[in-house]
């Protein structure tokens, strides 16, 4: 790990001030960046690997008292960015009203990591692409822009089939983000000029020709919270992986349905483990709305969700697997007693 200066911020304005020295291209993968520290489960790991090399680490954990509230007033959900994954997934009201949120958090990582990791850090976790994580590979466009992509011709079994580019096929690894994007969440971002709210769907950027730029956060900005409009008691997070527990998704689906008198009024489908960014399957959702749910419909939705998917040498199986995950998640959501 490279040497860094440690700073502890005691409140939000201090944190913003400490981060204000960040350069406009505050890329945490390069020397010189100023990096906030929350749970540390991604940051310390990648610093040990020399993938992230900040010159200053600003510990924002003292902000947790102000930034970890869970609020379900008014039929909406607001989550502070420094709430820990374990605390949110264990909240009985969230389990009841937003099972897709509780389960996406519960099925991620391990109990220890969920005790540490914050919601804000979770949505910003880095890809598990082994070529990104191993600095002995020079050719990673995410780490070394313009150097090429070792995964394209390498071992790419866990890589993405949706949202890829010729520059990068690294999978976005998170689960919680799929629940957020499915439920039309907004993300609250705090910076020098105060807080702004943007649709969560606009937080992450697909790799395109600049895979090193992963989000629309400006230098020195922090995620301070998330908001989900409405309640979604009929919702499911289904995760298929190599192990039954403590493993990243090969394919996952966040599904939420609003069913009245046997007719689907609203439907949400998001995909994890298969795309380069949190992935909402809007065209697929459109097929369900106003329809009576049955298996034929589930299969058509699953097909539509993976339209345009592109497999590589080792990961084409994810397209077939992902369709089955979507169909099963739809069945589970439709069968829920709410």
């Amino acid at each position: 790990m490279r040497p860094f200066a440690y700073q502890r911020a005691t409140d939000a304005s201090a944190a913003v001030q400490a981060l204000a020295g960040a350069a406009a291209d505050n890329n945490p993968l390069t020397e010189g960046a100023i990096q906030p520290l929350a749970g540390g489960t991604t940051l310390i790991d990648l610093m040990k690997l020399n993938v992230m090399r900040p010159r200053v680490v600003v510990d924002i954990n003292p902000l947790a008292a102000a930034w970890s509230t869970i609020n379900l007033e008014g039929g909406n959900l607001r989550l502070g960015a420094l709430a820990r994954m374990s605390d949110v997934s264990a909240n009985p009201e969230i389990q009841h009203n937003y099972p897709v949120v509780a389960d996406a958090l519960k099925l991620a990582a391990s109990p220890q990591l969920r005790n540490m990791a914050t919601l804000g850090g979770n949505v910003l976790q880095r890809t598990r692409c082994s070529y990104f994580r191993d600095v002995s590979y020079d050719n990673c466009n995410k780490r070394n822009p313009g150097s090429g992509c070792a995964a394209l011709e390498g071992f790419n079994r866990t890589h993405a089939v949706l949202g890829t580019s010729e520059q990068c096929i690294a999978t976005y690894p998170g689960d919680f983000a799929q629940a957020l994007i499915a439920l039309d969440a907004t993300v609250e971002i705090t910076g020098k000029s105060g807080a702004r709210n943007v649709p969560f769907a606009q937080l992450h950027k697909p790799p395109g020709n600049s895979p090193q730029i992963e989000t629309t956060l400006a230098a020195g900005e922090l995620i301070s919270g998330f908001a989900i409009p409405g309640r979604w008691p009929r919702s499911v997070y289904l995760k298929a992986r190599d192990r039954q527990s403590y493993e990243f998704a090969l394919a996952s689906a966040a599904v939420a349905l609003d069913v009245q008198d046997g007719v689907v009024r609203d439907a949400r489908v998001a995909l994890g483990g298969v795309a380069t960014v949190p992935w909402r399957a809007r065209e697929a959702e459109a097929l369900i709305k106003g329809q009576k749910f049955d298996d034929g419909l589930a299969q058509r939705v699953a097909e539509a969700a993976f339209e345009g998917a592109k497999g590589n040498k080792h990961n084409a199986f994810k397209i077939a697997l992902g369709k089955r995950v979507v169909a099963r998640a739809l069945h589970q959501a439709a069968a829920m007693e709410v």
């Binding site: 040497p3 911020a9 109990p111 220890q112």
Partner: protein, 208 residues
Amino acid sequence: MTDDTDFPATSGFNRRAFIAGAAGTAVAPLVAKAAGPVASTSPVQDPSLPVNVTLRVNGESKSLQIDARTTVLDALREHIGLTGAKKGCDHGQCGACTILIDGRRVVSCLTLALAAEGQQILTIEGLAKGGALHPMQQAFVDQDAFQCGYCTPGQIMSAVACVKEGHANSDDDIREYMSGNICRCAAYPNIVAAVKQAAPAISSEQKG
């Protein structure tokens, strides 16, 4: 939930603490000086110099001079002489370094010591009371819940938290909530049995 009241009395001299303590006095007489304070943030420290930190470990205060990069795991093992928490992967994947901080199980290899200042750290060394094994330690012995033993301190700390969190209600529940602790010897069936054996004693202690 806090284990603050569970800490045993000071255990006194031990060989590992002496060796590590003696080694520790030889390093780094320099300590970082504040380089111009920023409003309500701690001063920016010179990364090339060690920093002062006081950790609360098993009920005792430990004042250390450490590199800012030091994790709680390395502070425990290399600076304080508590080698119960083990370094397996050092990347938060294996659980061998599991300890409790403010009553919550965490991986100490991904926790910066500086960030743990002011918090209550409980390691495997602080679990037994007055020479009597903690019920979870006794259960691991009774159920033969290890082979080589390297993962065992992490398994036991994780298991104590697993029970206190209310996640030891069935074999499946225990397997899911102990999945953050890898056992290369695959003693898993016996670990599940040990967690089941100790759970009632820990739960009743928690209620009482």
